[in-house]
Symmetry: C4
């Protein structure tokens, strides 16, 4: 493997879809970063199934409809979005580009796309906010206890972040064999700068094993109820797959959910995000905000997720690949490609607005 | 890749099926033409599924039946056909053979096969008609408005075209990544000669994006109702997949439909043509003319489509491959092979006529 | 491809299953013979599916049963068989071994296995009978008319053949693309010697095509009723897949059926033999003799076919491969392997006799 | 193939899962031992399906549950286990490591894991018991008659073995084509030392074939009833797949079952162990001890088996691979990996104890 290439300064003519970035990213990253970006838990079955799940559905073209006044706008938590597409929280973005989260924020702003900043960012929350021309949301990893978690939340509020996304599906980092085999570590010079002054709760638990001991620092439903009281920001849970958990979250005042399995990075052989979505929507009924994360690679995937009950979707690996290949320009280009693919689906399926996209737009299995 | 070979002057002994032409076509075309011929929308899943769908069905052999008086003749719109097989509209045929549509017309006439000439032909409608020994139909792409579209229709009527096929599933060209990556363009010297004097309607639409703006030039159900009034030719819609659209088309006086997804070239991840057919036939009942387009590679495919409700089928890519490999001789040879394969299916399945081919000829899934 | 090796004089130690013969046969045959042996109709999907169909079923092991008094004997048409396995009619056997059908007869006799001799044998019926130590059946291809067909039947009766198997699924030779591409022809010196003095009926049919013209020489249900009157031999039809044809055959006095698609050599994309079997058995009820042909490669395949309603099975390609690789010794070895594999299945599934093998021996799908 | 490497003295950093041992084992064994370890019956479909069956199920993550007091302990037959994982009986362990069963016993003891010692061990039962720091069970192959079998049982009892596992699914060795092709034989110097003084019953059976003759030495239900009377040890049957056999075993006083197909080594194309499990559990109801053997490669597999009704599972090939690659250290490492993977599943699926793992933990098919 030769040395990674720097990001390209212009988009090559043959990069025309998300898969083209994914295919080129190996030229722009070293093996360490690549293992982190491409790897998942265990045998990576869920990672692959997240994408494959979309192929279970077929879109109905509906020609001759009058849709030239169509658009992709929507509202989420009182915020107007140009399209139902957000940038998912991804840690350590300076692994992939020298400017890391700052570069991502630049692209997100250019395309008016909300960027969900990770607790594990390699740039300061405040610096990202200063750079951002568009809306930012904050993704919170529970910091082992309430005080530490609250400190991060307050910083995000102060910096103008507009929603709080609590990730609940990573109580453990997950057994990522690809990373283990590659000996993944954060390179010298990079760090999770936002955690530098966050206190670590002393562990006093007597557990049967390191695994169960680690769970003592994970949030519980009680912690969630407490967190709900601490902020007026819209509160989302990221990492819900089971309908009962969706109902419980709503009953505790959670404002919305991200149906997700953490991109197949935490536990292998769980349901694909898309496969979990319809049951959750059925349990919640219409009107409750649902986002989906995992496997979005095409505008038709966005369309399918919306038809099955999502209000919007997030992408993770695809934009990181674009960031590594062509920097903020790549991320913006990717966002434009995906929006255009979505528009083509809507136009050809006779849906002038997102609200028109429903289950009847898909061929019955 | 070496320079493309000229068309062969004789059929090689080992070219015995449509797939043999498809396999050889790469030797006779440059990368530009090949990308146009072989490519489809997006990841080309629908392109592949169009073919694969036929493998979901099994034919019942019925030996000992008396079928020696069998034949493949049928009537469509008052026209007698020697076999239920037509040449689909394919644009830019001089990309594939120096004589383009004129060569195709020659072969079609030799085998008494209707040839559906594309709006985007690279030869003049009148010249093709002069060359043709067999029936011609005219495929119309809506020209952004009624006057321009009507002008083309009148020319086709005047030149003796015997049916009008309005393509409705390509309001947008589709995102054909393979063509984009190959940088496809019409080579110098080729042009869509029939559009040279067709007026382009001025676009006055304020749309949310280029995609939705483009839709302003696409036909609507209202345009279709108007078009129906303009001609006494049999009027078909090409590109219908949803049963409700089929019913609506019939109610507006359309004479027949081509169940089609444009060979998977416009929108990826839509139903395979064959998978859409049974529901459309069920909605319409018997007697209404249905053609199918997409994935026909064998006589058994024709038999299957007819068993599921089609009255006839069209082939596209297969005859273009034959045209590139061996010119009009190749197209005629391919038509003969497919008809012979169909005859063998009929003979061995105990069906002396096309009317005898019904759902009971297929093994229940 | 180097020159074919002569048949081996001893069985190599690593030839332990039918698949080992299939894998080695390419070393012992030229491309012409190989295309005939291995090829099928069209894309050879049915050829492959014949084998793959068996993998749809699972056997139930039933330990602790007392089966040491078990055996594989059965009776068919009053004849006692050592095992429910016959050698299917295969044409042109001198293509595969210098002694052709005479070699096969030798092996069949050694293992007390009925050998169904093809009309298209390359040795005289009488010579094969002289060589055979075991039972012979005669496979009849209709000779275009009654008189010619009767002449062959009478010769077989006179030579002591013990059953008549009329092949009905090959009214046409089928479109075998692999053979066509290889330019298959019977080599000089080989001929279908039993047809030398059989009169060819003059064709007086005016048909719409060569395909339908050829059907004029195929047998019909009327011919079958006539044939039934001509002989006291047990009469079987080979090539029945549809339950209605099975019922009709029985009603005309046919003594048994071979559920078969001619090894996928005549029409592609028809049901696998095994997939057609259960419905035929259900239509006929118990007691009516059913044989199955197509895809048998293992003793577990025999067991599965019997559990689904067959009384016995035939193998074709596997024994020809064994014949080419190791002559009569190979055929005998193969028969022994298959019988032993069947015995192991019976013993481990708690079935001391063939009669004990029923649908309850298979895991419900 | 170069000479096998000796076992490693330390675990390489990139060995992080059972599959890593399986991938490396070929470097540490010769072709003879490898054929024995990796091979199965026939075409090895069941061998592969044992593993693949687990992929039919998906686990439900249940975040926010309070599980830090979790553990993997359970009780079986009055014995406390640290985790629901046992080492299956595997013959001839000195083929794979110089210390064979003694090495395995060392690792099993270190991880407090029951080791089921095979009748075909290459070390004496008493020597293994002297080495073992953890619980031993004894696997009995019926020795052709009662007296011989009893002699082995008494030795195991005297040496302190704590359960008796009668293997019932190998009345025949099975037709293992891979071993046959490799010419597998036990190398000079290795022997099944525990059988040295065991009397061989004289065979007096007149059978129709060697296969059926061999069955005369297999145990029957009557033998089982007799065996049950001979010992106070917990008695398990290994190799039950059919629910009726499970019920019969329980009615005869058997204490528990190992749902198993002998790792696909005896009869090919039988149900995967996991596919047989739910029906057996449904037949028996809750409370009756069920173990499962076959295809366990991940902690998620253990979790799935438990969710479908198993109380514990056994691993075979995986630990032998670890033994060959890195000796007792490898076996202990593998056991720790699997336990940790199971703990991660439990923690993330909200199950603090094994008792909490039920069918509701899996996504409905």
């Amino acid at each position: 493997m030769s040395a990674p290439l720097p990001p390209l300064a212009a988009i090559p003519a043959d990069v025309v879809a998300a898969c083209d970035y994914a295919q080129r990213v190996g030229q722009h990253l070293d093996a360490n970063a690549l293992a982190y970006l491409q790897g998942g838990a265990g045998d990576e079955e869920t990672l692959q199934e997240n994408c494959a799940a979309f192929a279970d559905f077929r879109l109905w073209p509906r020609p001759l409809a009058a849709v030239s006044d169509g658009h992709t706008r929507c509202r989420l938590f009182g915020q107007e979005l140009q399209h139902p597409l957000l940038l998912a929280p991804v840690a350590y973005q300076k692994l992939f580009h020298a400017d890391g989260e700052l570069a991502t924020a630049l692209a997100a702003g250019a395309l008016e796309t909300p960027f969900v900043v990770s607790t594990l960012a390699t740039a300061r929350l405040e610096d990202i906010a200063a750079q951002a021309a568009g809306p930012l949301w904050f993704q919170l990893y529970w910091q082992g206890g309430r005080a530490a978690s609250l400190q991060l939340l307050r910083r995000a509020e102060a910096a103008g972040y507009r929603a709080l996304v609590l990730t609940v599906d990573a109580a453990l980092a997950g057994i990522r064999n690809r990373e283990q085999r590659a000996g993944f570590r954060l390179p010298p010079g990079l760090s999770t700068v936002n955690l530098e002054n966050v206190p670590k709760p002393a562990s006093t638990v007597a557990a049967s094993s390191p695994v169960f001991a680690a769970l003592a620092g994970a949030p519980t439903w009680d912690d969630l109820a407490w967190l709900r009281e601490q902020t007026r920001l819209p509160l989302l849970l990221k990492g819900i797959l089971h309908p009962e958990d969706a109902l419980k979250a709503r009953s505790l005042g959670v404002d919305g959910l991200v149906v997700s399995n953490h991109g197949g990075r935490v536990l292998d052989r769980v349901p694909a995000s898309l496969h979990a979505l319809p049951e959750i929507r059925a349990a919640l009924g219409s009107g409750y905000p649902l986002l989906l994360d995992g496997g979005i690679r095409r505008g038709s995937d966005i369309f399918t997720a919306l038809a099955l009950g999502a209000d919007a979707v997030l992408i993770g690996r695809p934009y990181i690949a674009a960031l590594a290949v062509a920097g903020p320009l790549g991320v913006a280009h990717l966002l434009r490609l995906l929006r255009e693919e979505l528009e083509v689906c809507m136009a050809l399926c006779g849906c002038p607005t997102l609200a028109a996209i429903g289950p009847e737009c898909l061929q019955a299995g």
